[in-house]
């Protein structure tokens, strides 16, 4: 536990991955991951909001009375998202269009409030910054992993670069909504299988008998 507390960045990055472990922010996770580019753009926008919110929350944390805690955090998150919205629009309208409504919806992405409430409200600015960055990068990583499977299978390309030549038959399903659910389920099953195998290897070989259920 003490080790986790020491490293808020690494913790958010993988061990407590917002996508695969905490299941926070599922809406953008499934909605904008049909291409790697969108996944990364969404991840970076979320990271920016997370860091900004965490830093702001952490710096005003001692001034916020308990009664208006959540309201204050949401107001801060909404501010950060509005700022991000303007920035993305200024950087590229194409990316802005690809992310569509989900950019504004970052404000209700549970990962923002969850980190503000669970971490930034209790920790100093620099640690909150690291936590926001770690969770943001972890979120981006998760989104990119989903986006990779979906783009490679669904369009036969990676970051828009064709991988298998013109004769490849893309599995269109992966670009469509059911593909989002399936891809996330696939990653979860893969992790479960890996953990299970590791656990089995650690336990005595006799444990093989019990796997039945």
């Amino acid at each position: 536990m003490s080790q986790e507390q020491d490293n808020p960045f690494l913790n958010g990055l993988w061990k407590e991955s917002p996508v695969f472990v905490q299941f926070l922010g599922m809406c953008p996770t499934l909605a904008v991951t049909n291409s790697v580019r969108n996944a990364i753009a969404m991840g970076l926008a979320t990271t920016f909001v997370l860091v900004l919110t965490n830093v702001l929350v952490s710096s005003v944390r001692k001034l916020v009375p308990n009664q208006v805690r959540i309201a204050t955090f949401i107001a801060i998150a909404a501010t950060a998202v509005t700022v991000t919205d303007y920035l993305v629009k200024a950087i590229s309208i194409d990316i802005y269009k690809a992310l569509g409504p989900f950019l504004a919806l970052i404000v209700v992405n549970c990962v923002i409030l969850a980190r503000a409430e669970a971490f930034a409200a209790k920790n100093n600015v620099s640690r909150s910054f690291a936590d926001g960055l770690g969770n943001g990068v972890g979120f981006t990583l998760g989104l990119t992993m989903l986006g990779t499977v979906r783009e490679v299978l669904g369009a036969g390309s990676f970051l828009g670069v064709s991988l298998f030549g013109p004769n490849f038959e893309p599995w269109v399903l992966f670009l469509l909504p059911p593909g989002g659910f399936i891809t996330l389920a696939f990653w979860l099953l893969l992790f479960a299988w890996y953990r299970d195998r590791k656990a089995r290897a650690a336990a005595a070989p006799a444990a093989m008998q019990e796997v039945h259920s």
Partner: protein, 208 residues
């Protein structure tokens, strides 16, 4: 004490929010406008090759035109494109219609001189990848809009059976999306062609 601290907190947060939002909005405002104009200019240049000068009009509900200064304005819009000599090449109009998955919205170029549609490009759609989304890039399909007659009602016909200049040769296997394109153009033309004709002099001058 507690009510004071609540007010202090809310005041502080509103202050921070206000400064950040207004700041971001001011800093990015110009860049956003430039981005939007570039996108608009590029798509008009693509629809009307050789265009040198553009004028944007807003279309009022009563059919009157107003000169626009920003592409951000609300309501239906129309863009007139002119070549080097200032001759009107055509007008770019907006159209949208419900397709297979969701609403398809598009821009198309109309040449009032020949009363024909001379270009078409999809702005937004969610049609099935590999089937309906061919309306955005299928060469054979886009060939329909090099010169599409608008004197008769525009209609999409089965792939390979186009006979008349006002028919659209549908994409095989994507009949619904192709038909939606036909419907959106027909609908937009019935509405907009008379307006363009009525104001043709003014549009051709292109100065007001």
């Amino acid at each position: 004490m507690s009510s004071f601290s609540i007010i202090r907190c809310l005041g502080l947060v509103s202050l921070i929010s206000g400064v950040l939002i207004v700041g971001a909005s001011l800093v990015t405002k110009d860049q956003i406008r430039i981005n939007q104009e570039i996108i608009m200019r590029d798509s008009i240049a693509q629809l009307l090759p050789g265009v040198e000068k553009q004028v944007a009009y807003g279309v009022e509900p009563n059919g009157e035109l107003t000169r626009l200064t920003s592409v951000d304005a609300k309501g239906p819009k129309m863009f007139a494109g002119y070549d080097k000599q200032g001759k009107l090449l055509g007008v770019v109009l907006e159209a949208s219609e419900r397709g297979y998955a969701d609403i398809i919205s598009a821009l198309y170029a109309y040449d009032p001189a020949t009363k024909a549609i001379v270009g078409f490009s999809v702005v937004e759609m969610k049609e099935t990848p590999g089937l309906g989304d061919k309306i955005t890039k299928d060469k054979e399909f886009l060939e329909n809009f090099r010169k599409l007659d608008t004197s008769k009602p525009i209609v999409a016909v089965k792939h390979g059976t186009k006979k008349n200049p006002w028919e659209i040769d549908a994409i095989s296997g994507a009949t619904i999306s192709s038909r939606a394109v036909g419907r959106m153009l027909q609908k937009s033309m019935t509405e907009m062609a008379p307006i363009v004709t009525r104001h043709l002099d003014r549009i051709q001058r292109g100065t007001e």
